[in-house]
């Protein structure tokens, strides 16, 4: 085997400098294509892009009704007469009122309004038909739960028309002269709880719920996903800390933040908007505490689902939308169709709003608000359980 000597290699020539080639549109296309691919990889964003507009459309289009009809009304009829029956029929015919309860006493009527089972209470006094016949200032009393003036406003406007039209069929013959008076009888409207129908009274408690939801859910959702994004989760998981310990440790500081926010909002509501604070402090305090913990737990739960801070933020927005639209904060709860009310019932803000409005505007205590407090309690337990189930103890 004769080996031919190999010459030493010549020093390599440096490669030519690369020039920028191609049209600018190519580079735009490159970025565009990359973004699109990344978007399709991020399924959550994808879902959000599609679901959020559809959800908003459905909610605004169908669920939200700023002219709520078929509001529940209790009646107390002390005058069993044709006139009284015609007045009731006239109320129902406006389509704003549904007679859901027939009370036997003023006490029963009061209780129905207080508990929120009905929005309106109508009393037809015993001397109604006699006074109509005599033209002697006949009156019916319509009491409205005006906690949320937007809900009651259109119905009350319709009620005003009943006085002039409601008895036109009954006032014939000798009585026809009564129909010609400005009105044969008068509908006296009593706004309970918010007599001046000041919207701020309703909005401030509502804002409390929405602000707490937004900030608290976001805070815990971000705080856990930040650990994942920054890589500190690996160290945290390598420590002996248990999931529930991590959760409590994460939530506790924010409970204080939430309580501080509550105090600020209530003080501002009192000072700037003179929102009435009728009492119910114990129920309110328990409600706020449960709601703050529940919202934080919700954020923690989101963080066990989200991989990045952005996803956590999107989930928060996703959760916030129905909380604003279906809870009775922005639009009257009773104005929504049944299915929307059913969704609203499972949103914690709905129950929180009832507690805050009930306590602050009506002075309701534990006795009246325990179902709402119970609902919040169930929410806290359920979400904590879900978060614990979903909490990843490993990096799998």
């Amino acid at each position: 085997m004769s080996a031919t000597p190999v010459p030493a290699p010549a020093p390599p020539t440096p490669p030519a400098m690369r020039q920028v080639h191609g049209h600018w549109t190519t580079r735009v296309l490159a970025v565009l294509a990359k973004e699109f691919v990344q978007l399709t990889r991020d399924r959550l964003t994808y879902a959000m892009i599609l679901v959020v507009p559809v959800m908003q459309l459905l909610l605004f289009g169908y669920a939200i009704n700023s002219q709520p009809r078929h509001l529940p009304m209790a009646v107390l009829v002390q005058d069993d007469s044709t006139f009284a029956r015609s007045v009731l029929a006239a109320f129902v015919n406006t389509s704003y009122f549904d007679i859901t309860h027939t009370a036997r006493s003023t006490e029963e009527l009061d209780r129905l309004v207080e508990s929120g089972e009905v929005q309106f209470a109508l009393t037809i006094p015993g001397d109604f038909s006699r006074r109509v016949a005599l033209g002697d200032d006949a009156q019916v009393l319509l009491e409205a739960d005006a906690t949320d003036p937007t809900a009651t406003g259109p119905a009350l406007a319709a009620a005003a028309g009943i006085a002039s039209q409601g008895l036109s069929h009954d006032l014939k013959g000798a009585l026809a002269v009564r129909a010609s008076k400005p009105t044969p009888f008068e509908v006296v409207v009593h706004n309970r709880y918010n007599p001046e129908s000041i919207t701020a009274y309703n909005i401030v408690p509502g804002l409390l719920g929405v602000i707490l939801t937004l900030t608290l859910v976001l805070m815990t959702a971000l705080s856990m996903t930040r650990e994942i994004e920054r890589g500190t989760m690996e160290s945290l998981l390598a420590t002996p800390a248990q999931p529930i310990e991590v959760m409590i440790g994460k939530l506790a500081p924010y409970v204080i933040v939430g309580l501080a926010q509550t105090v600020v909002i209530l003080v501002v509501g009192r000072v700037l908007f003179s929102v009435p604070m009728a009492g119910g402090w114990i129920a309110l305090s328990i409600g706020v505490l449960l709601f703050v913990i529940g919202s934080l737990a919700m954020g923690f739960f989101f963080s066990t689902l989200a991989r990045t801070q952005l996803q956590a933020m999107q989930m928060t927005v996703f959760y916030l939308l129905p909380s604003i639209l279906l809870s009775g904060f922005m639009f009257p709860f009773r104005g929504m169709p049944g299915w929307a009310q059913a969704i609203g019932e499972v949103i914690p803000v709905t129950h929180f709003l009832r507690i805050v409005r009930g306590a602050l505007l009506k002075g309701e205590g534990l006795a009246a608000l325990w179902p709402e407090l119970g609902a919040l309690g169930v929410f806290v337990l359920l979400i904590t359980a879900l978060a614990m189930l979903r909490y990843r103890r490993t990096l799998d």
Partner: protein, 309 residues
């Protein structure tokens, strides 16, 4: 599996897949207590995954074993209490100060005399003066030393280090290794993954892993003996640029430039001689040299790649 108390790690048949990627395959290893074992292998060979399975951060798909006598699947809480794990990427809180990070670790491990321990750790690190500085503001070398201090604060019996000195300058690396040897002298068992050959030589034992499989195991000399390489060192102008063509010749397993010289290795002495014959002329000079650990690893890496394909 028999319980052997002289083993810090004793695992058998570990498997782990992510999707359709089989990252760790039938991995078994025994690591004796009180020694520093180097964990080597190319990127993506499953080193990090293995370390994470050992400290309970990942659940193996199959396989069993013990870490400090605790079952790696069922007793991860006990393992976490007794193992110090230093992640590849800095994973302490950059928005906390040095002292706050150490205090967090002390609390989360439920240690007693926390202030004293943290102070001792700060003194040992020489960071007592800078303890109120944010951890994120530290340089790479200091970050790694802080991470080491945080991982050893609870006095673990086993320390798992995942490429602790990646991207750290040589001086800081040396300090780091001095600390590891000091800890080992106190009886700590160390399993450290690394890419650096000089670091591999500072370990008592070496385990070489490639494509999820353990390929070589033993001391540095053991591994060199196992591989049985013959290595020629070529010198002369431009010799390093011949690596490409020499590597293709029969009998040559690796041809790797080392600065201005070229290391040509093969397991068959005769074939290697024949291959190098055409190059034995001026300006090149050839001499037999002891194969380094790096030669052995490049050989192992090439071999495992062939098996893998």
């Amino acid at each position: 599996m028999t319980d052997r108390s002289d083993l810090a790690i004793d695992v058998k048949g570990l498997n782990k897949s992510f999707g359709d990627k089989h990252v760790v395959k039938d991995f078994s290893i025994q690591v004796p207590r009180g020694r520093i074992t180097g964990f080597l292998g190319p990127n993506g060979s499953g080193k990090t995954t293995t370390l994470r399975m050992l400290c309970g951060l990942l659940t193996p798909d199959s396989g069993e074993g013990k870490c400090l006598g605790y079952d790696i699947v069922k007793q991860s809480d006990e393992i976490k209490l007794n193992v110090g794990y230093m992640t590849q990427r800095f994973s302490l809180y950059e928005d906390l100060t040095i002292e706050e990070n150490l205090m967090f670790m002390a609390r989360v491990h439920g240690l007693d005399r926390r202030h004293e321990r943290v102070k001792q750790a700060l003194e040992r690190l020489g960071l007592l003066e800078r303890r109120r500085q944010l951890a994120g503001k530290l340089s790479g070398g200091w970050k790694q030393r802080l991470a080491l201090a945080a991982a050893t604060l609870h006095e673990p019996a086993l320390l798992l280090l995942d490429e602790p000195t990646a991207g750290v300058d040589p001086k800081a690396r040396r300090t780091f290794w001095d600390e590891i040897h000091a800890l080992s002298a106190e009886g700590l068992t160390v399993l450290v993954s690394t890419h650096y050959m000089d670091e591999a030589e500072r370990c008592h034992d070496i385990a070489y892993i490639a494509y999820g499989e353990l390929i070589a195991r033993g001391t540095a000399e053991d591994i060199l003996k196992q591989v049985g390489l013959v290595t020629w060192e070529g010198s002369g102008p431009g010799v390093d640029r011949l690596s490409g063509e020499i590597a293709k010749l029969p009998g040559v397993e690796t041809a790797a430039p080392f600065g201005a010289t070229l290391h040509v290795s093969g397991t068959d002495e005769g074939a290697l001689d024949a291959a190098l014959k055409p190059y034995r002329h001026e300006p090149f000079h050839w001499s037999r040299t002891e194969p380094t650990l790096e030669d052995a690893f490049i050989h192992l890496m090439g071999k495992s790649e062939d098996n893998f394909r």
